[in-house]
Symmetry: C2
């Protein structure tokens, strides 16, 4: 790469704007570390006049991002619009085709079109870097691609969504409801305004799981339907009971190979209080990797926000400036295999079940009978009466039970008038 | 780098032998990841006939490691003898001069001669890689050099010696003495046989602190005298009392910049039980980095043993095979500055002090008077009587006290016949 490097930034929201400022104030430091002089020569966003934390130079502004490629000479382009399609995809595609390196924190774009875009990058001998797309300031992608490159990785899991982790931690601490804590999180900037649907329903974490799977198992991004559950239905009652049973509730993303079949999932988990993962609180993210011969590796850090994200974007840029031309997913597109999906119906796991029932004779027996019929064995059972309302909560921790049996069993309770609502189901973290 | 790469391994102890086997069984995988075919063409060790876990090919054996460079064509050499001088230094030096890339897990060599060897590598345009020298399987060096490259790092600290951490964890768990636990650690292979002096006295961790400082602060390796204390004098009594006070004792390595002056130290620390670092147990290592804008990053993993070390050596090798020619310490030798040392006499910190005294009137008053005279203020005081022996333990947690005052004060107790032994002093971890 030549000495003077031209840079464009497309998307000037919180992330893009912060990063633009970092580029401007760290020019000398970047030269010290790489020997290259960088210059931001083009920027683009929806609205040039929006109020921003750091001022932008309007002389560099392009209304249409695609004009940047047509009209100026760019070496590296940052995409920070953040959609899986539309202009996000178009500008990345066009940049790669024009032999421009691309850096993006856009997990939905990579999770959806990563295979295609990586192939484009490889064909055009440029880099497509996306360290910031998974777990912000935690260098988990580069760690898997480089530091653990010759390990046989069997499992990667962790806390991949800071918003959810903050809400769950805060519900526990303040004994408050989901809705109230969500409002607080929004005030503090830990959750998007409105309904941050993709954070809460698990799909944000799932995009990250997909990217992690690809890197850990040298495979193409999977298109399989997977188990994805969010935290919208987590009740303070469950956090409280879990606490009494010596558990905490965390939203985990997990990917592992079971008999060479890929099992990806995102769902709330009951984790034992004395484990490492149970004690990762607030907006922190953490990723645990099991590999051979390295053993268990843990990486923890801030998962979102302009600072940590910008740190990851910078590391991607230095990587390019230092002339490391690499395959986006660690190996060549033609070597990345498709992996068969594990059939979740074969999955057996311990469960936490909570039934809200009428407090009258026979109800407990109806439940336990039905569980037994479906081969679900009870490890622990607690009945908590609500004498005022003449109801009770029945909480059951099961031995390992088959997913299909469980779904069948839970359906069978639908017609039972002694059971209000759908029973709450939270999986335990298996070893 | 050409397609076929010739490799030599010098030193076939636990690490070298394990790594040799990994190289042999992972050839195809390495080719998948890098496109290069590797071949081990030379090995050397003190004794070719020693019983080893993995067989060695004696046809490749050289009695004198230097003959490898003279007689065969090598691209990458692994040094795994492990001394700071002697043949370790000689073979690395000769390799670099002959434009051979070097990979080593040898922390004492790098901590002592790293500046000189890095300069040699730079002059000869080859790599000197030493990821395995600090915290085994944890990719902390590459994380600082690359992933956090543009952050302003203010502090790096952590558990850097698995042997010490195992001994302290195990003393707490089993309520056993230092000597007994050390014997168990040796049986389990967690501590070297004999007296593993450099593990126990803190100098192993200190070599790692020096390397971390250099990378974090873009500076030359410091030659300053520093505060280095080991765990040899940690008594079960202290672990027990610390426990009652809601602390654990950990051997920490710390490096930080205070007013642009370098403050490096290794010593046992009282850390609050509910902190992350307090819960890193057994042979695990952990490194915490405070940087801006990334925030706090934590990396945890196995710190020693052939598996994790081999994983780090492999990552170094892939780095070279992928053609990443880099400065060993992240920036060019001429750009690395000398940093002034922080004067420890200016250091103020909270302390845990334990006095063993005669249980008679006036002793407590002698101690507190003396502390007051030296401007050491008491935050908490506990007297634990031993009625049988008519003695008592007086444990004091101080407010922040100046290091110089403390040393002066402790000296003044020497002549006091009511105080047996030298008082135990353990520093609290400051924020």
């Amino acid at each position: 790469m030549k000495k003077n490097v031209n840079i464009a930034i497309v998307g000037l929201g919180q992330i893009g704007n912060y990063f633009l400022n970092e580029l401007n104030i760290k020019k000398k430091y970047i030269e010290l570390k790489t020997g290259k002089k960088i210059n931001v020569v083009a920027i683009s966003a929806k609205n040039p006049n929006k109020k921003r934390k750091f001022k932008i130079n309007k002389k560099l502004f392009y209304k249409n991002p695609l004009d940047i490629i047509r009209k100026s000479k760019i070496d590296i382009l940052f995409e920070a619009i953040g959609n899986s399609d539309g202009m996000s995809k178009k500008i990345v595609e066009q940049s790669l085709k024009n032999k421009i390196h691309v850096i993006t924190p856009n997990k939905s774009l990579i999770a959806k079109h990563g295979d295609y875009l990586a192939k484009l990058a490889e064909m055009n001998k440029v880099n497509l870097e996306f360290e910031a797309s998974v777990a912000g300031g935690i260098p988990i992608l580069r760690t898997i691609k480089e530091s653990l490159a010759t390990n046989k990785i069997s499992k990667v899991y962790g806390i991949l969504n800071g918003t959810c982790n903050y809400i769950l931690s805060e519900m526990e601490k303040s004994k408050d409801t989901f809705d109230n804590v969500l409002k607080r999180a929004q005030k503090l900037g830990y959750a998007e305004p409105g309904t941050p649907k993709f954070d809460l329903n698990g799909y944000d974490a799932f995009a990250k799981v997909k990217i992690l799977s690809s890197l850990a198992f040298n495979s193409k991004l999977s298109k399989h339907k997977c188990l994805v559950e969010g935290i919208e239905n987590i009740n303070f009652k469950d956090i409280d009971i879990a606490n009494q049973l010596n558990f905490k509730i965390k939203l985990l993303g997990v990917t592992e190979l079971i008999n060479n079949q890929l099992f990806q999932r995102v769902h709330p988990c009951l984790v034992k209080k004395d484990t490492y993962i149970a004690n990762v609180n607030g907006v922190m993210n953490a990723v645990i990797t099991n590999g051979f011969p390295v053993g268990e590796s843990i990486l923890q850090g801030e998962g979102a926000g302009p600072g940590p994200t910008s740190s990851a974007l910078m590391s991607d840029m230095l990587f390019i400036l230092r002339g490391n031309i690499k395959y986006p997913f660690g190996i060549s597109d033609v070597k990345r295999k498709k992996v068969k999906a594990y059939n979740i119906n074969n999955y057996s796991n311990s469960l936490y079940l909570r039934f809200e029932v009428k407090d009258k004779p026979g109800v407990l027996s109806q439940i336990t009978k039905n569980l037994a019929k479906n081969k679900i064995s009870v490890e622990r059972l607690i009945q908590i009466p609500d004498n005022k309302r003449k109801t009770a909560s029945i909480v059951i921790i099961t031995h390992k039970a088959n997913e299909l049996d469980v779904q069948k069993c839970l359906k069978s309770f639908k017609s039972n008038k002694n059971i209000f609502k759908k029973p709450a189901l939270i999986r335990l973290l298996s070893n």
